[in-house]
Symmetry: T
Amino acid sequence: MLGKREIGIYGGLSLDQICSSVEAEAKKYNVRTEFFQSNSEGELVSYIQSCRGTFEGILLNAGAYTHYSIALRDAIAAAEVPTIEIHVSNIYKRESFRHVSVIAPVCLGQICGFGMQGYILGFRALMEERLDPWLA
Amino acid sequence: MLGKREIGIYGGLSLDQICSSVEAEAKKYNVRTEFFQSNSEGELVSYIQSCRGTFEGILLNAGAYTHYSIALRDAIAAAEVPTIEIHVSNIYKRESFRHVSVIAPVCLGQICGFGMQGYILGFRALMEERLDPWLA
Amino acid sequence: MLGKREIGIYGGLSLDQICSSVEAEAKKYNVRTEFFQSNSEGELVSYIQSCRGTFEGILLNAGAYTHYSIALRDAIAAAEVPTIEIHVSNIYKRESFRHVSVIAPVCLGQICGFGMQGYILGFRALMEERLDPWLA
Amino acid sequence: MLGKREIGIYGGLSLDQICSSVEAEAKKYNVRTEFFQSNSEGELVSYIQSCRGTFEGILLNAGAYTHYSIALRDAIAAAEVPTIEIHVSNIYKRESFRHVSVIAPVCLGQICGFGMQGYILGFRALMEERLDPWLA
Amino acid sequence: MLGKREIGIYGGLSLDQICSSVEAEAKKYNVRTEFFQSNSEGELVSYIQSCRGTFEGILLNAGAYTHYSIALRDAIAAAEVPTIEIHVSNIYKRESFRHVSVIAPVCLGQICGFGMQGYILGFRALMEERLDPWLA
Amino acid sequence: MLGKREIGIYGGLSLDQICSSVEAEAKKYNVRTEFFQSNSEGELVSYIQSCRGTFEGILLNAGAYTHYSIALRDAIAAAEVPTIEIHVSNIYKRESFRHVSVIAPVCLGQICGFGMQGYILGFRALMEERLDPWLA
Amino acid sequence: MLGKREIGIYGGLSLDQICSSVEAEAKKYNVRTEFFQSNSEGELVSYIQSCRGTFEGILLNAGAYTHYSIALRDAIAAAEVPTIEIHVSNIYKRESFRHVSVIAPVCLGQICGFGMQGYILGFRALMEERLDPWLA
Amino acid sequence: MLGKREIGIYGGLSLDQICSSVEAEAKKYNVRTEFFQSNSEGELVSYIQSCRGTFEGILLNAGAYTHYSIALRDAIAAAEVPTIEIHVSNIYKRESFRHVSVIAPVCLGQICGFGMQGYILGFRALMEERLDPWLA
Amino acid sequence: MLGKREIGIYGGLSLDQICSSVEAEAKKYNVRTEFFQSNSEGELVSYIQSCRGTFEGILLNAGAYTHYSIALRDAIAAAEVPTIEIHVSNIYKRESFRHVSVIAPVCLGQICGFGMQGYILGFRALMEERLDPWLA
Amino acid sequence: MLGKREIGIYGGLSLDQICSSVEAEAKKYNVRTEFFQSNSEGELVSYIQSCRGTFEGILLNAGAYTHYSIALRDAIAAAEVPTIEIHVSNIYKRESFRHVSVIAPVCLGQICGFGMQGYILGFRALMEERLDPWLA
Amino acid sequence: MLGKREIGIYGGLSLDQICSSVEAEAKKYNVRTEFFQSNSEGELVSYIQSCRGTFEGILLNAGAYTHYSIALRDAIAAAEVPTIEIHVSNIYKRESFRHVSVIAPVCLGQICGFGMQGYILGFRALMEERLDPWLA
Amino acid sequence: MLGKREIGIYGGLSLDQICSSVEAEAKKYNVRTEFFQSNSEGELVSYIQSCRGTFEGILLNAGAYTHYSIALRDAIAAAEVPTIEIHVSNIYKRESFRHVSVIAPVCLGQICGFGMQGYILGFRALMEERLDPWLA
């Protein structure tokens, strides 16, 4: 079982589309997924904490919290679940305050700049890391 | 035809393995690939410049040059070929000078922390962006 | 219809007084107002997001969040409703960390240092901008 | 009697328009106004110094001097006349050197981003502060 | 009556243990205690605001929020209840971003590095300050 | 046997009072204490070095040296005796240069802002750490 | 008609010499020139503002004002006359505060380090840009 | 004999055009020129070192290397040949990292922002400095 | 003959008093003095330039210009008249931007914090330096 | 009685000369002086502490300790004796680390750049402040 | 066998002299040496990489590359051959950008300021470390 | 006669061993040595001052004082005896505050990272510089 959390600030439709795409991909690997979205830093922290021992991977788009939420960072570190940081846009092309990710040092890796496709790439990265440790 | 350039500072064997893996993946998409490796900033600059109008995508692991080679940055911008920045390790877990990428703002996106698998992920990102613009 | 949100950390009484004053002012212009107060960054983000396409203006006193909440900033930018930043005190007379507003670059303008009167001034600024585009 | 000084670097016409608008507003409150415009930091300093004990309020658009003229700052502090800092544009949307105002800490408050309307808003802020101390 | 708030991100068991230890200590001084834990910055802010006029002291472990939550800082300053900042670990041995506490300037004092014992030390500090003003 | 060193820049009387208070506390635990005070960085360094293998704990108020004496830091690290950093005032409420402690990273913990009581708290912290390792 | 303004802080003689040299050069191109020198930032600002719509080019040696006069910068931007920044000395060989030019971003280009000859070079740059757009 | 080196990263055609223009200009002064272009920092360093005692002047467009190549800086200083730094664009209008030139302090002067014409201006600056020392 | 220039932003009376005191002191040494006061940076620059070859010393209170007027700095350096920097207040007890003097490096020395007496001390410093080179 | 302490790192002879000069000056005012010189920060701290309630003024040349000895700063503040900071050289003409004085904010004033004469000027400043409070 | 690489930017003669001196020294220890010099960062990187498993020590004068070549740093770290950093001049007496060595953290040690003798000292350091581990 | 001062914070035994090793080396060159060790910055300053005109060289391990003791720096500069800075460890591999040496700019050179052997290398550097000026 693998946990995936698309945490964004996108409107209903496109969030649904991401979920559908990831779910379709998940079926190929026969894994169960769960989606969670919230504007609240505290709810995100609680959800990530609750993943400890339950999920085998997290895909996290922390949106604006990426750049200052040390609470999220500590939650990721405490959860001890491999977490992949996803950004829809290339954050390095934007304002300089978006070039800093306080969660990056506690994540497995970062994928940014590939739009919605980033979630699929991140999902596969989690899958293949489990199937083919040689590559990783 | 799609260009791919694994530019690293790895020894022969593993570089070959990366090439093989990417080539295998490329066959599935029926695209031609080319590999280039050099320790010389100038040769990397020249190679990237030569891709203009010839290749449809670049996978670039710029190694240590990532962090200071403005010449590489200008070459990427001048080549006008979609370029994906790959790092084998999670550069945000390492020394603080590795947290800055001078090439990131002119690349399409960044993938880091997934070991050799990063090249495969980057290859698919280039492929799918061409096949399925909706996702991107 | 014009939206107004006095988001502060003031006790019940004075918050009521601000609301009454703004409402009285609003009657002169014949516009409907709505008030929202929360200590939660996430609730503020959600409320501002919900204004998109519903309100024609926002008066925002983001209190301490002014200085670090990039999530609020992104919500304001995404809402695409003209937003006026209000501060009761002159933040430039206080600690240096209060001299930086991360939301200012996405607001229409800033009014600070005029106490409760700032809300009235902000309300008129929104009104007159709509009535008299020449001045603005 | 209330002093107002539109100090800008705008051409003749629009400066006249601002003066007319403020004067019209001033008539409603039955107060006398005076206008002063100069490109010279020294003349601005002298004018502000001369307001001490003569005027009851200053509306100051210090233009580019906002960002470095400590001489203006000292003049405002020495004049001991409530001064309101006006900026036609939202300075926080512009170059980073315009985000710092060396005069803000000695002014009553700041109004920026409302175009010419800012002068009217500032005028009313001065008026109402005198009429209705409760609000301030 | 004295208020105490162990606000941490620890699992259930050890949080209970802290509560028991502090309660046992509190009985010696014949004071009433209350415990509050939340991952939400907004709830923490609201709780601290609600202590005004009700409690005589706060023991606060703000966790990651210590380092950036100006909202918590303002809540502590507004509550006007003597607050002691507790950190289980020695924050000065950890990452440099943990060396800055934005709440320290509005707290009575800071105790860090003594594990769970820090809560007991902080409790006694609050007690003895009330019993023996000469020492403080 | 436990070593305690109240190193301050206080006048004779209050230093005596601190010593008496700590000594009275020490009798409860049946431990021997020794006091040392000096204005000389070199003497402080030598004294701390001499504690190696002799004392079981140090209470250190390094006064102004806290903020720049790397020599003290190295002495503490070399002594390998658990050291608690005490500050009578809350250093985070004072000038910004006092917010940095160069010795904190090599101390067991820090207690500041509790006046003379800080020494008693620090003493108990050392005692209880020895008696009750579970709490620490 | 082309405007040229040698604004320096040089004594009479050499200033005359510069004027003569530039005038001689101007005759070859059959253009009219005007010279302006002032120690007053305000006069320089006013003069540059007055060039709008009158002159076709400005050679500006802003001397010490180069490094801090945002007022000059704004005047150049408002004048909308191509302006060339001239420095007699190589400012990059001098004190570090002279390495920053606040006017450079609004000038056409910069010529420094060539002594009096810089004015001639700047004059030709203005001329040839008009005569031979291909080169520019 | 005067050495000139147009070192750029421009395509073949326009580089030829620059060479032709400079050569035509050189004929007027009856001096011999040599052109060198390379993407390699090391080759540029070697070429500049080889100019020592052979050429009487260098026109150097160091492209991206301008901003970080201390090796180029040391080569220029060691060559002891008057060197003029040329930039086709106004580097002060671009990204902030391009505002710093590590080679400027060892060059005779800098010319930037005049497009291809910059090479001609630089050539004349070298020529006239030799012919007319009074101007320089 | 010795020149002295009390350049301040003080009202008429006390400026007169300073002049009288310095003049009385000057009579003891039988030297002629001249006083100059202006709010205009440009007039101060011109006056100081005009001292070259005329006066033997300058007492300069540059007020707020102390902290940013590189034009004044260059004027002092160009005048080549020994200049003593006077500040009535101790600028190091005030805001941090007043701790920097851009003119200090080109002055003979600095006297600050002694109120009006500073002018007398500065005058004697100039006198005695001429009479008794051994002391200096 | 007035205390004076020439604390320098000068050889025996010139230190004697300074003492003689100050003593001669002191006789004119009929005050007793005492001289103290030490290379030890701790001894300087102790001496300054001992001046509390004994001397009416201190002339302090803290040499290199000026730039980092917070211990000296605290001693001056604790002594509550008016202290004048003397520097033989103009510290603002030297290395940038000498431009910062950590003791300046707790001194009455600063005199620097006048060689040995600085001690005489400082002595008179102390004397006249006592005799003629109007001037100060 | 011990490898030694004098990598400098010196002319032929003195490089030969260094080689001769080191070779003479090497004969005393009966070890084989090899010399390599290049202006190309890439060639230096390749050479250092090729030392892995072949040489037992490297003497490296990286010249200007010392200050920015992260590629060299990574090559040294990857080669896993003890490397000693040599600088002919005392880099700490020169421009501030030369005070930073990006390769120092991956070298065994640094020797600078002893001219050509530095190579001999470095050679002996490598030798004696092998012969006499106690000293190291 | 050559002076050598091993100033460390090492225990008795290893300090003796260093002294013995250096003394043995010194006998080969027939020079007299003297050893000095102190924890006191002031004593170190005094000792170095006393070397002026007496010793021909100093080997200085300033320990922690390396990083902040401007007093030591001034003593070395005043002593005018060639001084070699020794560090047993490679300070560039340690905490970033140890990467700065305030004494390096006034020393002849620096040797670090070679353990106790550094003293022998430093001794030989001093010797050979005197015997063989060509190498230096």
